[in-house]
């Protein structure tokens, strides 16, 4: 778990340097009561494909620690997702909805085994997410406040979580109307 935390910390620093996104996340579903609220860090960018919509690409890391483990046990997942973000007022600003699909590049869950040794379970899996949010600008900087539900599917099971995030969004190309 130590290497995982180090990798997550490096990613979080990169994300902050890239003016990217942070969020709070919570695992939901069976056997998740032992997990504390986690945090996520993302690099997310988009290309406008119409006045109303952007195609988005997001690389992130979500980390969830087990309560009372002192950071020794928990779960980390690094999904790479593509999405289609559609603003309801068709202006590229304001309320939007965004389905995403992708692949979990890294998934590690660290647990204590019967002898209190650390057991690391490694997995990948497909990712589906449904999100909604609000796009706004402060000065000339675009910001994105969002709520999403995400599921990672692997080995016949799924890790599900909800996330609330805010980001300074990166546009790789301006809209025609800008």
């Amino acid at each position: 778990m130590g290497k995982t935390i180090l990798a997550a910390t490096i990613l979080a620093l990169l994300v902050m340097q890239a003016n990217a996104q942070i969020s709070v996340v919570k695992l939901v579903g069976n056997n998740t009561k032992d997990y504390a609220i986690g945090f996520g860090a993302f690099i997310k960018g988009g290309v406008p494909v119409s006045e109303a919509a952007d195609v988005t690409l997001e690389l992130g890391a979500d980390i969830f620690f087990m309560k009372g483990s002192g950071g020794d046990y928990g779960t980390i997942m690094c999904p790479l997702k593509a999405g289609y973000r559609y603003t309801l007022n068709k202006t590229g600003q304001g309320l939007y909805v965004e389905p995403q699909v992708g692949f979990n590049l890294v998934g590690v869950t660290s647990l204590p085994d019967e002898n209190d040794n650390t057991l690391n379970l490694h997995y990948h899996g497909v990712v589906f997410a449904a999100g909604a949010g609000y796009l706004f600008t402060i000065g000339r900087a675009p910001f994105d406040l969002n709520l999403r539900y995400e599921t990672v599917i692997a080995h016949g099971g799924s890790n599900n979580f909800v996330g609330l995030g805010i980001s300074r969004f990166i546009f790789f190309r301006k809209r025609d109307s800008d």
Binding site: Y86, G107, D113, Y123, A130, H155, G157, S158, N160
Partner: protein, 176 residues
Amino acid sequence: MIMKFYLIATAIPILLSSCLKQSIPDAMLGTSKHTKITATLSYEINGNLVNVSVDDADNQASNFHTLECVKLNGYYNLSAITDFGEFTFNFFTDSLKVGSYNYPTNSGGIYVTDFHGPNFVYYPMDKMNFNVTTYEAGHISGNFSGVLTPQVNNIWGAASSVTIKNGSFKNVPIFY
């Protein structure tokens, strides 16, 4: 039209996650199971059929597992106790996945099985191929084949003279 698309897209993750009630760690560990699962392993060794079947494979006697795959330090060991002796194969990986696994060519001889006494061992000129075709809910299934060399009292027999074919395993539980 576009709202219908978003409604469907939103429903997909919720539907999938509600269908897959186990978390990924639980699924990998095979916990939260309520049904008895039968594990099987069978193969032909020089034309002789060997098979083993274990009812309720997730709850075998704690000190005597007839058919299992155990995660050890740096590898997974699949082992079976048959009427003719033992059978074993090591998956040299830290993280077992669906895919093909072969023994390394630089091995100095790895015990695989015995049959009516002699040990049949993988030797560098031999072949031992395992395919894990499914890995779900803490259980693996797949097929295997190989060519081995007999060894009795540390004396090698005719090289590559033992053939294992039509090997298959199903619902073998993984224990950690």
